[in-house]
Point group: C2
Chain length 342, copies 2
DNA sequence: CATAAATGCTAAAACGTTTTACTAGTTTTA
DNA sequence: TAAAACTAGTAAAACGTTTTAGCATTTATG
């Protein structure tokens, strides 16, 4: 038979003390509240014996804290986000927090909905990789005094705690790397978005080709079309068209993935001729033939930094004013075979 | 200024009705409880106006339901689990449930800890990819009348609701496929575990080589050593040793990943000679040179089936007896270049 | 020796819901 | 026309905690 978990009340009855006393003891305030050693011992022993665990829902209702954080990403099925998620989970658990993950599909409506739902659920903090159009919502969230840390991207003229990488510099170097290796016509394939990290990467590319006196060649694909025939068509056109592209820099992992497929479809040998650099590293890029040069984001560091900031905010507890915490981490170019001039 | 969210009590005061009435109306019991049209309208309008949202924590405390499910996997950073997670998340959200993901690292102690923590948090159901030694804990969990569905693996002589694939058959066919393609010495690399899905895969392999009158050659690596020099050493030995291995069947994705690296290290050309088949597909296997033959698990279907069962259990609500629901889905062999005899 | 302070505890309110049991008035039934 | 049944609600308990305010005793202080 399923038997009810003991509550603080049951313990009180069994030990003939008040629930107040028990609560104090359980929360380590026994000494402070001058509860005698014997009573403390008695309570602790009994709690141990019946394996009492406080009901966290009741605690949440009373204290307004849930010990739950939310990590909102584009797609938890995507390696980049999943890896960070794993790191965040680990750190959170060590501190007694749980993490709810959710995917916004880069969609503003969905982001809004998710923020609303979790706000209602009294989560203690938000770690958000925001879609482009939810600046207002983020602002409101922050106004309601709940800890919010943005990752990967941010909003211009909205002061937020955030952890990003040096996108401009990294993209600039990556393009430079292609140029240094003798490529004369590096193209840039990216998604059509106003997200700042993508704009920065594009700027990095443009400045690098301009500095080298080369011509810039950018293909911007709408997010939705990437997997579609239309998107594939446009990539194919760029690669086989009349302009003499000799190398490509991809702004993000899923573009690379799709494009590598297309490149293989066009001609299995093409990949040996084309210079390739991609944003976001992947175990398989190392294995691939040829191995793929990548800009590796410091996932571990990003997760740690995000949580460091989050815990600072949680500690401050909306009481004291905290200075803005904004970290810019460094992504590292990992040169491999795909960017060597053949 | 941060202002308190309105509670049901505030509404009651504003409209001069009782909180009971409001609760009934909000829960769609207005008609049933004979609340007049006017009052219903009045309440609904006001609720809309002040954008009232019930406090879910309070609801949980009162009803004992949290509308939160847990999906426990080995490692949420692993593609296989992350993809299923995404599918589960999607279905859950549609039904108003949230999903907490957690990684047990294939570790019993950690699994236990996680189960305990979430049980305390009153989650409504568990979707679990269990580590090998937590049979007892799963049993207890089920006894406490909370919905539990296992995925990917199960326990012998413990009747659980579960969704698995036809591991034996799939492994058998995969090995057969190598043999059919002319490989005479297929090896099997797997992890050293008592997990049933791995044992089934091993059986599938053994039976296939035996049926063909070939010799079986199995390398079992402890889970912890896979990324370590020791593990790499043993894989290297198998591949370069005196026994004339001409092909390998990998039992799981992370083994393949590590091994492909090793193969590349041994000799970049080796991969073109070696026959390779792996369990678990990956976007990059299609792209790889040569493309890698894989046994693809039906992720979408697995997620859907898991949730179908979970919702059945949630609906039954521990009241009515539900028949055991056990699904065996079919993994599909996707032949690619790596298993063609050269 | 009277008062003040410290000691060791407890009663009860509060968090925001759901739900059971009830009520006062109106309508129907026999 | 008295009793039964219905209508349109409401009061209050309960879920399991935390926390404020307070209450007897005992000990210290002047």
């Amino acid at each position: 038979m399923k038997q009810k978990r003991p509550s603080i009340k049951d313990i009180a009855k069994a030990l003939n003390v008040s629930i107040t006393t028990i609560s104090f003891v359980l929360n380590g305030k026994g000494e402070e509240r001058k509860i005698s050693k014997e009573v403390i011992k008695k309570i602790e022993d009994y709690v141990e014996e019946v394996n009492y665990r406080p009901n966290q829902v009741a605690q949440s209702l009373r204290t307004g804290k849930s010990k739950i954080l939310v990590f909102m990403v584009e797609d938890i099925g995507n390696r980049f986000f999943a890896k960070i998620a794993r790191i965040i989970e680990e750190i959170a658990y060590q501190k007694g927090y749980k993490v709810l993950f959710c995917s916004n599909e880069n969609n503003d409506k969905r982001s809004r909905e998710l923020i609303r739902v979790f706000h209602e659920r009294q989560v203690d903090g938000f770690l958000i990789i925001p879609s482009a159009g939810i600046k207002k919502d983020i602002e409101n969230l922050i106004k309601s005094d709940i800890p919010v840390v943005l990752a990967d991207r941010y909003f211009e003229d909205l002061a937020t705690h955030q952890v990003v990488i040096n996108n401009y510099e990294a993209a600039n170097k990556a393009t430079q790397h292609l140029i240094d290796n003798g490529f004369k016509h590096p193209a840039f394939i990216t998604i059509d978005t106003q997200q700042i990290q993508m704009l920065d990467r594009a700027r990095g590319y443009r400045d690098a080709v301009a500095a080298a006196g080369l011509q810039s060649n950018i293909l911007e694909l709408p997010f939705e079309t990437i997997q579609s025939p239309e998107g594939k068509q446009r990539i194919t056109e760029l690669l086989t068209g009349s302009n003499e592209i000799d190398s490509v820099f991809f702004s993000t992992n899923y573009l690379t993935q799709t494009s590598l497929e297309i490149i293989k479809d066009i001609d299995p040998k093409l990949i040996y001729d084309l210079g390739i650099v991609t944003f976001d590293d992947n175990e398989f890029f190392k294995i691939n033939n040829p191995s793929i040069t990548a800009v590796a984001q410091p996932l571990q560091e990003m997760g740690e930094e995000l949580m460091r900031i989050m815990f600072k905010l949680l500690k401050a507890n909306g009481k004291e004013e905290v200075p803005l915490m904004q970290s810019v981490l460094h992504a590292e170019l990992i040169p491999r075979d795909s960017s060597k001039k053949k």
